[in-house]
C-alpha cells in the first residue's frame, strides 16, 4: 500500500546559520495505522510535524502525501488530507464548542462563504464521535483540559482528513483523559484514518502505536513496528537513561525507566 506520508532526505533549519533541526530524514509512515513519533524534548518531533503539514518549507528533500508530492497540492487540498491537533491552543475569545468545531469546515468554504446547515451537521457528528456532543453550547474557555483537547480533535475530524496529525496530544492530560484520547485514536484507525502523533512518553507509544519512529537530535534513530522498535536498548539510546521494556500477562508492552 502507498505510504500515507513519505519523506525523502528531508532537512530543515530555522535560519540559514542555525544548525539543522531535522537532519536527512528518509521515512515512510504507513497508511491506516497509528504511528508514534517518539523522542525526548527538543528532538525535532514538532518541527517534523510542521514540515509534513507544509507550515515549514524544508531546505532539502521531498515530502509526499498519499503518493503525491506535497508541492503538487494546493493549500486548500492539503487541509482536506491533513488535520492537525496542535500541542497547545490558547482559546481565542469565548467561542462555544460547536462554533469552534465548525471552523473545521473552513477548508471546504470559499473566502466569503459561511457554513451551511450541512456544515453544522458535520461538526455536530464529529462532536458525537469524540463523545462531547452534550457540551456543544459551552464556551471553550470553560472546558476542562481533557474536554478542550476532545473539542480540538473534533475540529480536526470535521476537516474529514485521511491523515490526522496530533502534536503531544496527551502531555497535559491526567491518566484517565490521556487514555480516552489514545483509545479514540485507536478507534479512528479502525475507521480507516491514518494517525500520526508525537509524544515524549514511551508508554503512550507502547499503548497505542502500530508503528514507532524514535527521534533524537533531529535524526531518526529507529523506525519500525512497535514490537521491533520499542526495546530497552533502542529506548535507552534515545533517551540517554537506562530503560527496560517488559510484557504484561496480556503481551502488552510496558516501558520502565530506571
Amino acid at each position: 500500500m502507498t505510504p500515507a506520508v513519505s519523506l525523502t532526505d528531508l532537512a530543515f533549519r530555522y535560519t540559514p546559520t542555525a544548525p539543522d533541526v531535522v537532519q536527512n530524514i528518509t521515512l515512510d509512515l504507513p497508511s491506516r495505522a497509528v504511528t508514534a513519533i517518539l523522542g525526548p524534548n527538543g528532538s525535532g518531533k514538532t518541527t517534523l510535524l510542521h514540515l509534513i503539514l507544509g507550515l515549514l518549507t524544508p531546505q532539502q528533500g521531498r515530502i509526499a502525501l498519499n503518493g503525491t508530492q506535497h508541492t503538487g497540492y494546493a493549500r486548500r487540498e492539503v487541509s482536506h488530507i491533513l488535520g492537525l491537533v496542535p500541542q497547545e491552543e490558547p482559546p481565542a475569545f469565548n467561542l462555544n464548542v460547536l462554533e469552534t468545531v465548525l471552523l473545521g469546515r473552513a477548508p471546504y468554504l470559499k473566502l466569503l462563504q459561511r457554513p451551511s446547515e450541512r456544515d453544522y451537521t458535520t461538526a455536530f457528528r464529529s462532536l458525537e464521535q469524540v463523545g462531547i456532543a452534550d457540551l456543544w453550547a459551552r464556551p471553550v474557555p470553560a472546558l476542562s483540559g481533557g474536554e478542550r483537547q476532545l473539542a480540538v480533535l473534533a475540529r480536526a475530524l470535521t476537516q474529514e482528513p485521511d491523515i490526522l496529525l496530533l502534536d503531544e496530544p496527551t502531555s497535559h492530560l491526567d491518566v484517565n483523559n490521556a487514555r480516552q484520547i489514545l483509545s479514540l485514536m485507536r478507534d479512528l484507525r479502525t475507521q480507516g484514518k491514518t494517525i500520526v502523533f508525537t509524544t515524549h512518553d514511551p508508554n503512550a507509544a507502547a499503548a497505542t502505536a502500530d508503528y514507532v519512529v524514535l527521534m533524537r537530535q533531529g535524526r531518526v534513530l529507529y523506525a519500525g513496528t512497535a514490537h521491533e522498535t520499542l526495546t530497552g536498548e533502542h529506548l535507552s539510546a534515545t533517551y540517554d537513561v537506562p530503560i527496560e521494556v517488559v510484557r504484561d500477562h496480556l503481551g502488552r508492552l510496558l516501558v520502565v525507566v530506571y
Partner: protein, 317 residues
C-alpha cells in the same frame, strides 16, 4: 430601530427652538427644512457610518490580534491620522481637504510602518510583533503631534488642532458624506462578508494554516479594510475615542463570541451609540459639546461597569 432613531434624531436640535422640532414647524419654516435636510441629515448619516465603522474595525482588530483590549489606536492608525491632521492645520494651510487627505495618508503610513517593522522583528509570533510595532509607531506619531502643537500658532492653529483632536461632526455636509462613502462602504462590505472567516483568523497561525487559511494574507486584507474605513471617518470626525473598544465588548456580551453575529451586531450598536452621543452633543447645550468627549465619557463608564462584572472575558485567557 436604527431607522426610528434616525427619524427621531432629525427632529432633535437647537433650531428653531431648543430640543424638539415639531413636524408642523417643518411645514411652515423653510429655513428649518433646510437645517434638517442639509445639516442634520448628513450629520446623522455621518454619525451612523462613524459608529458602524469604528465598531466593525474594532471587532476586526480585536479578533485578529486575539486581544479584547485593542482598537484602531493600535497599528499607528489613529495616531497617524492625528499627526496628519495637525500637520495639515499648521503647515498645509488647514483647508478641509488638506486635513482629510493628510490624516488618511498618515494613517496608512502608520499601518504600513507597523507592518514593515513587524516583519523585521524577531520575537514572538506575528500578532505580538505587529502589536509591538504598532505601539512603537504610535509613540513616534504622538511625539510628532506634540512637536507640531508646540510649533503651532497658539491663537489661530492650536485651537483648530485641539478641536480636531477632541472630535466632532459639526462641520459635516453632504459633500463629506460623498467623500467617505466610496471608501467606507466597500470596506464595511468586505468585513461583513468575511465575518465568519474572522473566527478562523483569530486562531493561532499554526491552527489557521492547518485549516486551509493563508493567515498572513487574509489578515492583511481585513486590516487594510478596517484601516481604510477608520482613516476615512476619522479624517472627517476627528478622534472619537472608545467606540471601537467598547462596542465589540457589548456586542459579544449580548450576542456571544461568534463573529457572524458580533460584526453586524457591533455595527448596529456602534451606529446607535454614536448617533445617541452626537444627538446629545448638538442638543444639550447651546454650544457644541465635542463628540469625542461624550463617547469617551460614556465609553469609560461602560468600561468600568464591564470591569466590575466578575464574568469578564479576559479571565481564563
Amino acid at each position: 430601530m436604527l431607522l426610528l432613531t434616525i427619524l427621531l434624531s432629525l427632529l432633535l436640535g437647537r433650531y428653531p427652538g431648543p430640543y424638539f422640532t415639531p413636524l408642523a414647524t417643518l411645514r411652515e419654516n423653510a429655513l428649518a427644512r433646510t437645517v434638517v435636510l442639509n445639516l442634520r441629515l448628513p450629520r446623522i448619516l455621518a454619525a451612523v457610518f462613524l459608529g458602524a465603522t469604528l465598531a466593525a474595525a474594532g471587532t476586526t482588530f480585536q479578533l485578529i490580534f486575539r486581544n479584547p483590549l485593542v482598537d484602531a489606536g493600535f497599528l499607528g492608525v489613529s495616531q497617524g491620522a492625528a499627526f496628519g491632521a495637525s500637520l495639515a492645520i499648521v503647515f498645509l494651510g488647514g483647508t478641509a481637504a488638506a486635513v482629510q487627505g493628510s490624516a488618511a495618508a498618515f494613517a496608512f503610513v502608520g499601518l504600513a510602518a507597523s507592518y514593515l517593522m513587524a516583519q523585521r522583528l524577531r520575537l514572538g509570533d506575528w500578532v505580538l510583533r505587529l502589536v509591538m510595532a504598532g505601539i512603537g509607531v504610535s509613540a513616534f506619531y504622538a511625539a510628532g503631534t506634540g512637536v507640531i502643537k508646540y510649533l503651532a500658532d497658539p491663537l489661530k492653529q492650536l485651537p483648530d488642532i485641539t478641536f480636531w483632536l477632541l472630535g466632532g461632526l459639526w462641520a459635516i455636509t453632504w459633500r463629506d458624506i460623498l467623500h467617505i462613502l466610496p471608501v467606507v462602504a466597500p470596506a464595511l462590505i468586505i468585513i461583513y462578508l468575511m465575518r465568519w472567516r474572522l473566527n478562523l483568523l483569530a486562531l493561532q497561525d499554526t491552527t489557521a494554516f492547518a485549516l486551509g487559511a493563508v493567515p498572513g494574507r487574509e489578515r492583511l486584507v481585513m486590516l487594510i479594510a478596517a484601516t481604510a474605513a477608520t482613516a476615512a471617518v476619522v479624517s472627517k470626525a476627528g478622534q472619537i475615542g472608545w467606540v471601537g473598544l467598547i462596542v465589540p465588548h457589548i456586542a459579544r456580551r449580548v450576542l456571544g463570541a461568534d463573529a457572524q453575529l458580533t460584526v453586524p451586531g457591533g455595527m448596529f450598536i456602534g451606529a446607535l451609540f454614536v448617533l445617541g452621543c452626537d444627538n446629545l452633543a448638538r442638543t444639550v447645550l447651546s454650544g457644541e459639546i465635542p463628540l469625542g468627549i461624550l463617547t469617551s465619557l460614556i465609553g469609560a463608564l461602560v468600561f468600568f461597569s464591564l470591569l466590575l462584572r466578575n464574568d469578564l472575558e479576559l479571565k481564563k485567557r
